[in-house]
Amino acid sequence: MFAVRIHGRGGQGAVTAAELLSVAAFDEGRHAQAFPTFGSERTGAPVVSFCRIDDRPIRLREPITDPDALIVQDPTLLHQVNLFAGLRPDGFLVLNTSRTLPDLGLEDLVRRLTPEHAVTVPATEIAREHLGRPLPNAALLGAFSALTGQVSLGAVCDAIRDRFPGEVGAGNARAATVAHEHVRTSLEKMAGGRVAGA
Amino acid sequence: MAFQEIKLYQTGTFVAGNRLLDPDQRSVQARMGRSNSLTSGHRACQGCGEALGARYVLDAAMRATEGNLVAVNSTGCLEVFSTPYPESSWQLPWLHSLFGNGPAVAAGVAAALRARGRDDVRVIGQAGDGGTVDIGFGTLSGMFERNDDVLFVCYDNEGYMNTGVQRSGATPPAARTANTKALGPEPGNAFGQGKNVPLIAMAHEIPYVATATVAELRDLEYKVERAMSFRGARYLHVFVPCPLGWGSDSADTIRLARLVKETGMFPVFEAEHGEVTEVSKIRRQVPVEDYLRLQKRYAHLFGDPGRPDIVARLQANADRNIARFGLLPEGDE
């Protein structure tokens, strides 16, 4: 089982992100379960959503306390909420920011995690460019796909386009694709850098 | 059916059966073919205004709908005295659910009939003042707002009679009830601002609103048949004296209904989509005292020393109605 926890603020599409991730996994023949922390609908409040992916039916019904992957949609949450609670040492991290992890004061975290498992991606900027709105969730799913390989980019884009028709869907799919490429490039650089320095 | 031209006071009550009239001018009740929807054998008190009103209303509605009618009834005197298990006085399809939900249940019946392709069958909801003005008010307003195809009839005897004569939102000021006794400096029911449900119904802009009394039974039949000519939410508020609750003579029921109109205390009118269309004028205005003295629930206002101040306030209320609704013929105010 692969457990993903998504952190965001109300209005950034964290709940939708979990749902789309589950649909993408389902479309690729896997079992998936997505659900949010439930609360009164308020824009801007911290929101957490969850997605479990497995090859067997998922029976468990509890919030994810030991995620295999974290997607952080809003860097302003970093020092307000304990986002990283339970993240496995070799867990994955996708962080929405145009800065670097050390710049954000996350050196300790970076040291704990496997380097190739933690990436940043300027998802908000990508979203602004490709769909005209600062809605980072689709881009982050594309990034997640590249980082973890749990779902393919194609499945992510199909799920996006099925949910959002017309130009909205197309724009989001573009954002996902661009973010996917961004992460793929980052990972190649990381791998290349280590080989070079070895 | 055309509105009855001949007035009972001109011909006397012997024509109540309309024997002297052309058959097509007779009231529904005078006809052999009346449906008798509320048939005899029920347990109403002698002189019950509600039993009288319900009989007239339902038979008129049955005639107007050619018998394609379903009745919904809220808890109250009418429901209780008409269905003493294992008997029932109802000769039409009839459903009693709860006290506060008559309008909502009627709305559900209407929806079901429409869904089943039977909107030729019409729905009438009925309740006392309690089930309409107080506990049923929320569901009533909902029914109005949705414009459900229901004629809702309130039989207003101004109190919770079934449970022993307690006050309701329709109880008039100064009236004695079991929980507003003639005690203390303000005997009887408080002088509140009242709750004028016909006006509230008009504020919902429903197709048809009317008030009536059991003194003018032809008028009552006419209003029911007129209401049935509309689709959508309709409301009929019928003034029905209660001899037991009011402490009046069972022979005075119709007299009291006539007096409540002639004093101006109960305006009789029709309205469509929020505008008054017809006002039934007072023939000969009488002072409120003539009406009040016939009922023991107002006995504390009279005698030695009595409360002439309260009587004056009640008269002022009646005068306000007369002015507000234009109840007197021109030049008579």
């Binding site: 079992h31 | 003493p84 009839w94 909502a104």
Partner: protein, 420 residues
């Protein structure tokens, strides 16, 4: 057809397939997605021949359903928590009149204090209303139970509530197999009412019944509900034949046969419990699970039979009777009377507190180690320190006011660590 959808959408689709003719519903979290979806489906024509009433309250909703069902239409509504209570009078009325209304209850805690999250206190508070109560373990079962519910309700002329955990199931995206219209039509014929308001054949419905006959009327209600104990397995069997999967029925057994310790529960928490039990089984511990799908009528004989070989029963329930004790626990003790079995009653998940594998595992370890007193009601994951601080505060007479406000001050804001 397999789909990955939100639980609410799955239920809305199942209800649509049942062809209700009147829907009267009032929105309340967490049922809103269901009734919104049904409104959409009526508007687009997907759900044809259905009148959707925008009622002014839950009392209005159930009242309209009573009228509609009385007039011979197949009806539906949904609610939760406060809404279920607001229609309480009408619930008893519907069952007393023998009207086959089907209602979804998206289980949510009852206030005060106001709480929108999942537990079973709402449906449990109405367990005596004369309605049949079915509890879904998953979204698949939730959608399946609605289809079975209509058949059950209309066969017996008894209303049925299908309970599904609010948010936990209603707002969860998971895989479901949605049946086709043809399949549902074959399984669920058109509604033939046992009584209906019809001008061609007038009946009086809702007469007053005095002391001379009331007891008999109630006895017959009870007998009719008990008949559901036979009918439900039959319907579940027909469902399996028609749709190819097991859904519904009275009880669900998981690794029960040789279990010395059995966990009893209702609803979605069964999934988590099965995971914990698998872990214990891997360590050679003989634990099993008994899921209660039909809570009312209470399948006392079937529960007794299922628990007859166990030595320990641990009831995990999401509600309790304040001032008295457990509810499911009490019913379970009824069923096991005289059997050499110890029943432990544990209240968990109140007001939406997650019931976790870790806590359940800890609980079962403690039970197996004999560290839990079967005579007392237990509260899983209760913050005893918090409670004791508040009790101490009350004793010292400081700061009058509701416990809730005091303890929230101690606990801190909702935002921090809410998911832990």
């Amino acid at each position: 057809m397999l789909s990955q959808v939100e639980g609410s959408q799955a239920v809305a689709r199942a209800v649509t397939l049942c062809r209700p003719q009147v829907i009267a519903a009032y929105p309340i979290s967490p049922q809103t997605h269901i009734v919104e979806s049904l409104s959409d489906r009526v508007r687009t024509g997907e759900l044809a021949g259905c009148e959707y009433l925008m009622v002014e309250s839950e009392f209005g909703a159930m009242s309209a359903c009573i009228g509609a069902s009385g007039a011979g239409a197949r009806t539906y509504t949904a609610t939760s928590s406060q809404g279920l209570l607001f229609m309480a009078e009408a619930l008893f009325n519907a069952s007393g009149l023998g009207l086959p209304v089907v209602m979804t209850v998206a289980n949510r805690a009852i206030g005060a204090p106001i709480n929108i999250w999942n537990d079973h206190s709402d449906a449990m508070s109405m367990r005596d209303s004369g309605w049949i109560q079915l509890y879904a373990e998953s979204n698949q079962e939730a959608l399946d139970l609605h289809i079975q519910a209509y058949r059950l309700a209309e066969y017996l002329s008894v209303p049925v509530m299908v309970c599904m955990d609010g948010f936990v199931l209603t707002h969860a995206f998971e895989q479901v197999d949605l049946p086709t219209q043809e399949q549902v039509d074959a399984f669920l014929p058109a509604f033939v009412p046992q009584q209906a308001l019809d001008p061609d054949d007038p009946v009086t419905i809702g007469a007053m019944v005095g002391p001379e006959a009331f007891a008999e009327v109630k006895y017959l209600m009870h007998a009719k509900q008990m008949a559901a104990l036979d009918e439900i397995p039959l319907i579940a069997g027909d469902f399996r034949d028609a749709f190819g999967r097991s859904s519904g029925g009275l009880l669900k057994a998981y690794r029960l046969d040789d279990a010395e310790t059995v966990v009893v529960a209702l609803g979605s928490v069964l999934g988590t419990i099965e995971e914990v039990v698998d872990g214990l089984r891997d360590e050679g511990i003989a634990v099993g699970v008994l899921g209660i799908t039909c809570f009312r009528p209470w399948p006392v004989a079937e529960v007794r039979e299922a628990l007859s070989r166990a030595t320990r029963v641990v009831v995990v329930e999401k509600a309790f009777a304040v001032g008295a004790g457990g509810i499911v626990g009490q019913n379970t003790r009824d069923a096991t009377r005289g059997l050499p079995v110890e029943v432990y009653d544990v209240v968990a998940g109140l007001g939406g507190r997650p019931v976790t594998r870790a806590s359940l595992r800890r609980l079962l370890d403690e039970v197996l180690a004999g560290q839990v007193d079967p005579q007392r009601l237990h509260f899983l994951d209760l913050d005893l320190e918090l409670v004791q601080r508040e009790l101490e505060r009350s004793r010292r007479g400081k700061r009058p006011g509701p416990h809730a406000e005091h303890m929230l001050r101690d606990v801190g804001t909702v935002a921090s660590g809410a998911y832990e």
